[in-house]
Point group: C2
Chain length 643, copies 2
């Protein structure tokens, strides 16, 4: 249920879900409320007056008098109806109203890609077939397997006879047939190509057609997630995730590759990721009260290094120029052969990779959003330590990886952190007082800055001219929050007493440099790829963001710092965990699954590592948003306005 909130005096309205936090709603609406404890109710600054409508609120340290007059702490209020809310006018210490008001910069999120993902059928690459066979007689004593084949032919006419799994299947078939009085259920695996015959991969006594499940697995360098799909309905019925157990051998793919080169290292890494997948399977099966043996197909996607490690392939040459993976199209593998707790016949499909640093997760994402089926030209981006970029349409696609660095995942940022509870996820600054409005994940005291918070902070500091376009603090500003710290100039986002960690949380010029390198690499990547096909940003019909990050990015702010191109905001879409989505679609719909082959074949990799053009674009990007301001007309305008 949606409710409309009108914020006075500026009459800014926003529609939010019932129960939404009022501080977060204000932040999203671009309405500045002085609030620096992150939403924990302790600073007591976010006092607003509820003129109309109902909120559920905690009084906390609010004075009774204020409470009676209808004041509430925004950070402790949840929306229960349409509201009219007045934000008290801020005054100087002397009681004079502040002249400059904060600019309303409503959060603009990318659109969800639901319409572009399209519909998919429930027609999975594995299926079950129940057969009631006539028992053999002297006149009809063909072999057990022939009897099965004949039974199949009667219900599924196909000129080519199915093949079958050896040796497990033919060993269990005679008994299964006789114990079930010739009533059996076959598990059938569809061919790689349309028209290829089925493969019988398992036989069960009796009718088990109602139990048919598939597992989609996203194998991330940090986190692995699994989703159980009921292949009779196509619906997700359980989810689980956990840290990739390989993390103890190194945070990123490079350290994993190095570890794989040690004696026993490759084996250890392979076992760790398998153990992680096994834990996910256990969790899901425990929740659903099914047996791991009921999972009939596993579709997985991971980056090239993760894929190599899962299969036990040495990733050595991925790290050495010219960065060559052993293999990019992975063969359909028996999951149990890798050590995964699955029925011996169950296949694990691993999305193909494009190059050493453009992996199966990207192919799965591109596959999921059907870029390869559209005339429209899309820019597909996955922002992370390694930024991956794909540009193209149904005719052609080019991709590249750029080593953006881990800034958006909290790496290289002094108080950076992952998007977890306590992370500053939204930020506004008062243009006159330079006081912050901080919203944290979970509405508790801040403990650090996550990726979306970082974008928010830098963009706001830039607009407020607290930093300049080179990412340097305005040394002429005299404000306690702007100071020279141990690491150089910094802005204090939260004082020690207002932070969860008991120390000042700051953003430094070093942080800003790192951010600029990260966003600069991405932007230079877009440019180099577009150049390679003779296109510019104007030619883009869509910008598709993969990864959960995409859903939380404030487009205006991300464009403001130069992370995203300055194109029509309606062109932006986000996919969420696109890698998982691809796996999930492939599990449910064999026709969509088969299209992955064309997707893979359509994409050409461009190596940026020693690319001179990329290097010069990159150098030009180390500016906020960019040295070439003609690329960012909307930002140019905005910065000019805020002068």
């Amino acid at each position: 249920m949606k409710h409309t909130i009108s914020f006075l005096p500026d009459n800014i309205t926003i529609e939010v879900d019932k129960g939404e936090n009022l501080l977060a709603a204000a932040a999203e609406a671009g309405v500045y409320i002085h609030a620096y404890c992150g939403g924990d109710g302790v600073c007591g600054k976010c006092k607003v007056k509820i003129d109309q409508g109902e909120v559920r609120s905690d009084k906390a340290n609010l004075k009774q008098e204020d409470w009676n007059q209808g004041y509430r702490l925004a950070c402790l209020s949840s929306v229960q109806s349409d509201l009219t809310v007045t934000i008290p006018e801020m005054t100087t210490k002397s009681g004079k109203a502040l002249k400059r008001k904060p600019k309303t910069t409503r959060t603009i999120s990318a659109r969800s890609l639901d319409t572009l993902i399209g519909q998919w059928k429930v027609d999975p690459p594995v299926s079950k077939l129940y057969l009631e066979l006539p028992p053999p007689t002297m006149e009809d004593n063909i072999s057990d397997m022939q009897r099965v084949m004949r039974g199949i032919k009667q219900v599924m006419p196909d000129p080519r006879e199915p093949s079958y799994d050896h040796p497990e299947l033919i060993k269990i078939l005679p008994r299964a047939l006789r114990e079930s009085e010739w009533k059996i259920t076959l598990l059938l695996l569809r061919g790689k190509y349309k028209g290829e015959p089925f493969r019988i991969i398992d036989v069960e006594a009796g009718d088990t057609t109602s139990r048919l499940y598939g597992l989609a697995v996203d194998i991330g360098t940090t986190t692995c997630s699994g989703v159980l799909v009921d292949l009779n309905t196509g619906k997700i019925i359980a989810e689980a995730s956990g840290y990739n157990g390989q993390i103890s051998y190194g945070e990123d793919v490079i350290s994993r590759i190095i570890y794989a080169g040690r004696p026993g290292g490759l084996k250890a890494l392979q076992e760790k990721v398998v153990a992680t997948i096994n834990t996910i399977i256990e969790d899901i099966c425990r929740d659903m009260i099914i047996s791991p043996a009921d999972i009939s197909y596993i579709m997985a996607a991971g980056n090239t290094v993760m894929s190599h490690l899962l299969l036990g392939l040495d990733p050595k040459y991925i790290r050495e120029a010219p960065y060559v993976p052993s293999v990019s199209q992975f063969p359909l593998t028996k999951a149990a052969g890798l050590g995964i707790h699955a029925h011996p016949s169950v296949r694990l499909f691993l999305y193909p990779c494009i190059a050493s640093y453009v992996g199966g997760d990207i192919v799965a994402g591109v596959h999921a959003c059907q870029m390869a089926k559209s005339e429209k030209i899309s820019l597909f981006i996955d922002i992370g330590t390694n930024g991956e970029i794909v540009v193209g349409n149904k005719e052609w696609m080019v991709c590249a990886a750029c080593s953006a660095g881990p800034a958006f995942e909290g790496g290289g940022i002094q108080y950076g952190m992952r998007a977890a509870t306590g992370a500053i996820e939204n930020f506004q600054i008062h243009p006159e007082t330079y006081d912050p409005m901080i919203v944290t994940i979970g509405r508790i005291k801040p403990s650090g800055i996550c990726g979306s918070g970082l974008i928010s902070i830098v963009s706001e500091l830039l607009e407020a001219k607290v930093i300049d376009q080179q990412g340097k603090f305005n040394r002429s500003l005299d404000h306690p929050r702007i100071r020279e710290g141990r690491e150089g100039w910094e802005y204090v986002l939260a004082w020690g007493q207002d932070s969860l960690i008991g120390e000042d949380i700051v953003i430094t010029e070093v942080d800003l440099d790192n951010l600029m390198r990260a966003k600069g690499a991405m932007y230079a990547g877009y440019q180099t790829l577009l150049d390679s096909v003779g296109l510019g940003f104007d030619d883009l019909d869509r910008v598709i963001m993969a990864g959960n990050f995409g859903a939380y990015i404030d487009l205006e702010k991300a464009i403001c710092i130069g992370l995203l191109p300055d194109v029509d905001r309606d062109k932006f879409f986000y996919l969420g965990n696109a890698s998982m989505l691809g796996c999930q679609i492939s599990l449910s719909d064999v026709d969509r699954f088969r299209e992955r082959v064309e997707v893979r074949q359509l994409i050409t990799n461009l190596e940026l590592a020693e690319n001179n053009e990329f290097m010069s674009y990159y150098m030009a990007s180390l500016f906020l948003p960019h040295t070439d301001m003609s690329l960012f007309p909307s930002v140019r305008e905005k910065l000019a306005e805020s002068l």
Copy 2:
């Protein structure tokens, strides 16, 4: 080199190879020479006079006077030129010439099937491809496997990308490529169907295309044989064979099935046959100084039980009515997975079976002789403990197995033995003296009777009226060799002093009964199968005999006893080890190999075990040659003549 021998006084000529034994030549020509030591030179009875030409001979116990006059012992003489040989006239003890002369019944062998087997190409289902690949660069850093695929595509354009073996291949590829400076040889496996893409099953550093071998294996219940084929030339370059190690667990398939039912029995039997194959591989590789790893494909054929045991499949239901094998089309298996000493990637193909008692050896034989490609109607027979029969042409085929019993392999015959040195293989009887002419394998004293000898003996005894058409001895004949022994009436083939075993070698009425059952089952099988398709013996264009036995059968004699149908002798062909031949052809020529699928699909099995028609035909066959003499016009004529 061939030489012509004229035997006087009857002026019977025969053409034989230089070096042929003169006694064996006479026996083949149907010329009776009194000789009862089997060819060992001890009885001294086979004295002949060399009128013209040259023999190489041993004097042995021949008198000097006879030697000087040109007499030689036929059994100790080898043909060195064209000859004119006079057989001394036999006389009664009183010196009077015998009135009745032995009838000349020259051995008529079936023709070799060379022309019908046809030509085959050297285009095997595995091939090698040498590639020199460009090393990767930053501009061209596709994965190792993609580089290989691209290399393949450049020389073998095929819209479908080859598949490849996981996990062995992708694990060794990166190193193989780099160690060989990107010059590699791929081992390619062709698809099951025409148009199916190749499968890369191995990679070797450098150019190894000159080494490509295949192994054909015939897995007999008694003997296993192997033949190494150079797949670059299609030529056989080595052979080896040995007893099937399973023999210690039982002589025939039934006792093996019983043993398989014991705890650990199936595993033991599987291991024994694998050990036998491994010994064959070792023998061949030692002879050829190649490594077992150089064998790139194994094609095998065996009966249904042998095939099940090799794959470790429980043969239990084969023995129980309604006689159902687990599987009849065996999946292409990795040989190493079964324990065979082969490279991990090498596939073992096992010819499909038709039914529990019509196995892959028969399919291989039918495949080899191209029955399924001809308009002509063929009767394909394999005479053994289980007689297998196939009738048909390119339009249709029916088959059946009949439990003939082991008489033709020496079983159930008091002095029966396999066709080994010392076995009586040819026999004539003097119609007046009833004395034998015995020729043994190896020309030594006799130690028993093999299948062809048995046919010869029974046919001669029948023609000489020593036995009647019911297989009973003529009790009115007064002759020391015809007597009532412990087991009933019998004929002494060799006296103890003339035999290798030091005791009288006899043929008994019990032996004759067993022989009649064996040949009766075969004949009733032909009749039932022909009836099932509405045909008679006159409709047959060819009678094709599989098994080595076929080459040694004297057609006239085999027809005389009712083992073979009384049709035009020119219609008979023999194939030798047809099962091996099929494997060998399949190894060399992928197109011929692929035809096996149609061969298998064309054949319908008819179960004789509880078939009433078969039973009545069988009862009518327990006669020499048959109760219905109209089926054997030539035999009727012959028996009438010999009255």
